[in-house]
């Protein structure tokens, strides 16, 4: 048993023990038991992942498990990255959950309910366990079981606060349905694959893939894309994501949005690049297009969202869209034979996935911290937390900076890499194909617009949510979160910072991942320590030096100002309200008003529903008593696609229901007609 196995199994044993322990203990102990076991399980995963990336392998077959199939595990560097990611998030989320779920928060709705309930606490380590194992699965059956177990455990966790809000139920129903739809697609894809090559293990699939006919390979890939895309929150299969992530307890949101969603990417990489070994160009054009639509749509919705966690959920769709764009472009270039460029784009995608995991964890935990102490997710009611929850604010700021893809945040590095990949699609000699000449500029445009709107989104989230003065009593009475939550967020922020400043630390990892796809990638994509240097392409950037430059400049400025200011003190004064009465927090800009210009610019896409109610004074209609303004931005893709589908299904159901009208004569008539039809068919076909 090597290190990988030891770490994984050790973590799993801890998690199972933690699950049992959490089920048996009281609320206060339970929170610690569940949190610690989750963290330990995550640490096991992290360790195993690092060992896998480091070149260790782990494969085993366990006889006697899983009826009608075998349990098999096989880990490589690709597994390693994702195991490590999941593990890292789990470590943080576990620590965080200790404080988040311990009794005494405003979210506590009484014993046995919410995130601190027995079931939820017991399932938390199990959820992490399944996620840790998913990338290690070595054959189709094992993968499917773990995948569905992951969905089931996460569903239980999403339902944690079902007593508090009816929306939780709706969200869970959406989540369950969409994730199951995705599972069906994955099931068909993988089982079709394995039944056609005549083997269940991934190794067998890899070997057998080459002999499959092209149409079959395409079918498998499309099904896998649908399945994994729905897990990754790709438009139009994203509808569950902005519902489920906000309604889950925040550490669960973090686990789902940062870790679980990333496993959708794992699936695409595993099936598309590894098992199918690359494939047709049009597959990847499709991936690129889906990614582009997701990125744009996700960020647009995020930029106008007022629910902080919903905003983060849409931001997940956006970032997964960017990642899929990178993967799609990598696939296109691989199919065209430009493997070094494919390698770069793939590395950019994986790096962005890593970065996204980092900052999304931090952001969801930050949002959870706010939620726990104010009970609010609505940005329009928040504000002023910077003085009341300074640490949460600062740490959320780190995450927001990263999510906005601004230097010196870590999100910037991977977006930069992605842009480099896309920009260098022009071959050094000869003219590019029409597809690339059309697709790549559009892709750059999409990435750029996404980046711009992403900035708007996170300025809104941070600026409206945390700065200025509180817009509600609850926000005004906020208190800083417990130490475990702060520690967890600080851990996540440290991770983000490390990735931001020296992205080169993950360079070897990316190179190893690239090496797992010999048919797609070629060579090591990037090198360099302080300065990020691309291998084939003349592109370089040094996040560390930029940060140093910023610090140095800031230092110079501050010192100069001190000297020039001749020690004049800074004075606090009332906000300038044009001489009027003291400014009320109600006069502050809200998230809705902040996003109003964007809503207007993109109203063709967003189709906001606005509603203004003017109540006139009883005595004169020239006097206005109150004006009510409501704006709702529905998810237009959802509205366009799903209600008709559900309506058609319901209509069909009603129709079918009318068939069963209770008359036994009719029932018997079904039988007689059926009998005659069958007998006639039997007679005719003989």
């Amino acid at each position: 048993m090597n290190l990988v196995a030891q770490a994984l199994l050790g973590g799993t044993v801890f998690a199972l023990a933690g699950a049992v322990g959490a089920a048996l203990t009281g609320p206060r102990v339970r929170a610690v038991v569940a949190g610690v076991s989750t963290s330990v399980c995550g640490a096991g995963g992290l360790l195993a992942g690092i060992a896998l990336v480091d070149g260790q392998t782990y494969s085993a077959t366990v006889p006697g498990l899983l009826p009608l199939g075998t349990a098999a595990v096989a880990g490589d560097a690709l597994s390693g990255v994702f195991v490590a990611l999941v593990g890292a998030v789990a470590v943080i989320a576990g620590i965080y959950s200790i404080g988040y779920t311990s009794p005494g928060s405003p979210l506590d709705h009484g014993p046995g309910s919410g995130a601190g309930s027995r079931t939820v606490q017991a399932v938390l380590p199990l959820f992490v366990t399944t996620m840790v194992w998913v990338p290690i699965a070595g054959n189709v059956t094992t993968f499917l079981v773990l995948w569905e177990l992951m969905a089931l455990t996460s569903l239980v966790l999403v339902l944690a606060e079902h007593r508090a809000r009816p929306q939780v139920r709706t969200a869970a129903a959406w989540y369950a349905s969409m994730t199951h739809a995705g599972f069906v697609a994955i099931l068909l894809a993988l089982v079709l694959f394995s039944s056609q090559v005549g083997g269940d293990s991934f190794a067998a699939l890899r070997v057998g893939a080459a002999e499959l006919p092209t149409t079959l390979r395409s079918l498998i890939f499309l099904l896998a894309l649908v399945g994994f895309g729905s897990k990754a929150g790709i438009v139009p299969l994203h509808v569950w994501l902005p519902r489920a992530h906000p309604e889950a307890p925040s550490h669960v949101s973090a686990l789902m949005s940062a870790a679980m969603v990333t496993l959708g990417l794992y699936g695409i990489l595993r099936v598309g690049f590894d098992l199918l070994g690359g494939g047709q160009r049009w597959w990847w054009v499709l991936v690129l297009a889906a990614g582009a639509v997701s990125a744009l749509y996700g960020v647009l919705q995020a930029s106008v969202a007022v629910d902080l966690k919903r905003l983060l959920g849409y931001s997940t769709t956006e970032n997964m869209g960017l990642i899929f764009m990178g993967v799609g472009a990598a696939g296109i270039f691989a199919a065209d034979g430009d493997r070094p460029l494919a390698t770069l784009l793939l590395a950019a995608s994986v790096l962005h996935a890593i970065n996204h995991t980092g900052f999304k964890t931090l952001l969801f935990l930050g949002a959870g911290s706010v939620l726990r102490s104010t009970g609010l997710r609505n940005l329009d009611s928040l504000g002023g937390l910077v003085s009341r929850m300074p640490i949460t604010t600062a740490l959320f700021g780190v995450g927001a900076l990263a999510a906005a893809a601004l230097p010196p945040g870590n999100g910037f590095v991977s977006e930069w890499l992605l842009l480099q990949g896309l920009i260098h699609s022009l071959p050094a000699a000869g003219s590019p194909s029409v597809l690339i000449a059309v697709a790549m500029p559009l892709a750059v445009g999409v990435v750029a617009l996404t980046a711009g709107l992403g900035v708007a989104t996170f300025v809104k989230a941070f600026g409206v949510g945390f700065l200025a003065r509180p817009r509600s009593m609850a926000a005004g009475n906020a208190i800083e979160s417990p130490v475990s939550m702060r520690a967890a967020m600080a851990l996540a922020a440290t991770g983000c910072a490390a990735l931001a400043i020296v992205p080169a630390i993950v360079g070897p990892t990316l190179n190893r991942v690239a090496a797992t796809f010999p048919t797609v990638c070629d060579g090591a994509p990037l090198q360099g320590g302080v300065t990020l240097q691309l291998t084939r392409i003349a592109g370089s950037m040094s996040p560390l030096l930029i940060l140093c430059g910023l610090f140095a400049a800031a230092l110079v400025i501050v010192v100069t100002l001190r000297i020039a200011g001749r020690g004049l003190p800074r004075r606090k004064a009332l906000v300038w309200g044009c001489g009027g009465t003291r400014l009320d927090p109600r006069m502050e800009y809200t998230a809705t008003s902040f996003a109003e210009p964007l809503t207007r610019v993109f109203d063709d896409v967003l189709a906001p529903e606005q509603d203004i109610d003017v109540t006139h004074h009883a005595e004169s209609r020239y006097l206005i008593e109150s004006v009510q303004y409501r704006q709702k931005v529905a998810d237009r893709v959802e509205v366009a696609l799903y209600p008709p589908l559900l309506g058609a299904a319901t209509g069909w159901g009603r129709l079918a229901g009318r068939m069963q009208n209770g008359s036994v004569h009719r029932y018997l008539a079904f039988g007689l007609v059926g009998l005659i039809i069958v007998l006639v068919v039997v007679g005719v076909t003989s």
């Binding site: 711009g452 200025a468 370089s540 950037m541 030096l545 430059g549 110079v556 004064a573 006069m587 902040f594």
Partner: protein, 315 residues
């Protein structure tokens, strides 16, 4: 990093800081003259800065460290750009630190810092300015990156010095369709980013039409000085970048003192010409309604796309 090169970088930064307020002064003076007025002289921005530095700084109640830090971040990010860009020399040792995209991102960082400060004041104007500024910046972003794409695709590098060098080597490229289209697109964006007409009116007193001014309404004294210097510097940097990307002649290709001297002189000249041109153009323009601005930016985006396409198809 040789001392000579270091000196070059330092010279560039100092030169930019020194020149920046004059650029604003020149523009104001040109406008004043065209409006039939005498004008305050091109040194007026420097006088304003000097005075504001000596004044008291006020923080509104309820604001936080974000409010005080924002001017510093704004100026610092601009200074970094001033240090790494190929304004007077392409032989800068810092060129590898940040490429075109990083420069764009740093500009955006400054915008974001100020927008956050605007929100932090808690006034309606602050929020309004922040919202509008961010909207404009978000919509300008695609054009900038597309122009970057068009420029860097030809040289297979997004490093600014490489682009400038390459164009210097092949002057014919200046008049290539891609280059012209990109120049037009970037010009629009420079105007938008610098907060000039027709996107924003830097001298407006009407809060409802303000973008940049609304965000900084609460700043005073040295904070205000920092912001104004940064704004001037951003304008200068943008003009300088535009000039050197499309008309790169005169940029030093080595770090020798004479080359640097010529580079500095040429740079000042180019920026002065552009400032005069921009100010002249502004006289003929009215400010666009806020919700017409996206149309303008969409137009520039189109130019950007055309630039990229032509660099693909006509290269």
């Amino acid at each position: 990093m040789t001392p000579g090169a270091m000196a070059g970088v330092l010279l560039q930064v100092v030169l930019l800081i020194a020149v920046a307020p004059y650029v604003v002064g020149v523009m104001r003076q040109v406008r004043a003259r065209l409006e039939g007025r005498a004008g305050a002289g091109i040194g007026q921005p420097w006088r304003d800065l000097r005075k504001q530095l000596a004044k008291e700084a006020i923080s509104p109640e309820g604001s936080s460290w974000v409010f005080t830090a924002a001017p510093v971040v704004l100026l610092a990010s601009t200074l970094v750009i001033a240090a790494v860009g190929p304004f007077i020399s392409t032989a800068s040792p810092l060129d590898r630190v940040a490429d075109l995209f990083a420069v764009v991102a740093l500009l955006l960082l400054g915008t974001v810092a100020l927008a956050l400060a605007g929100l932090d004041t808690g006034t309606a104007f602050g929020g309004m300015g922040a919202s509008r500024e961010i909207t404009v910046a978000a919509l300008a972003e695609p054009t900038i990156l597309l122009v970057g794409f068009a420029l860097s695709a030809r040289v297979d590098s997004s490093n600014l010095a490489a682009i400038v060098d390459r164009i210097q080597d092949n002057p014919a490229q200046v008049l290539s369709p891609a280059s012209v289209l990109a120049a037009v697109a970037l010009a629009v964006v420079v105007v938008a980013e610098a907060g000039r007409l027709p996107v924003d009116n830097p001298s407006t007193h009407l809060e409802l039409t303000m973008i940049h001014e609304a965000m900084v309404l609460e700043y005073s004294g040295r904070d205000l000085a920092t912001i104004e210097l940064a704004a001037a510097l951003r304008l200068t940097v943008l003009l300088g970048l535009w000039a050197n990307l499309f008309l790169p002649w005169g940029v030093a290709t080595s770090a020798s003192p004479s080359a640097l001297g010529i580079g500095a002189a040429v740079f000042v000249g180019k920026v002065a010409i552009l400032a005069v041109a921009l100010a002249t153009a502004e006289v003929f323009m009215a400010k666009l309604r806020l919700f017409r601005v996206p149309e303008l930016l969409a137009g520039s985006f189109l130019f950007g796309v055309l630039a990229v396409s032509s660099s693909f198809f006509l290269a």
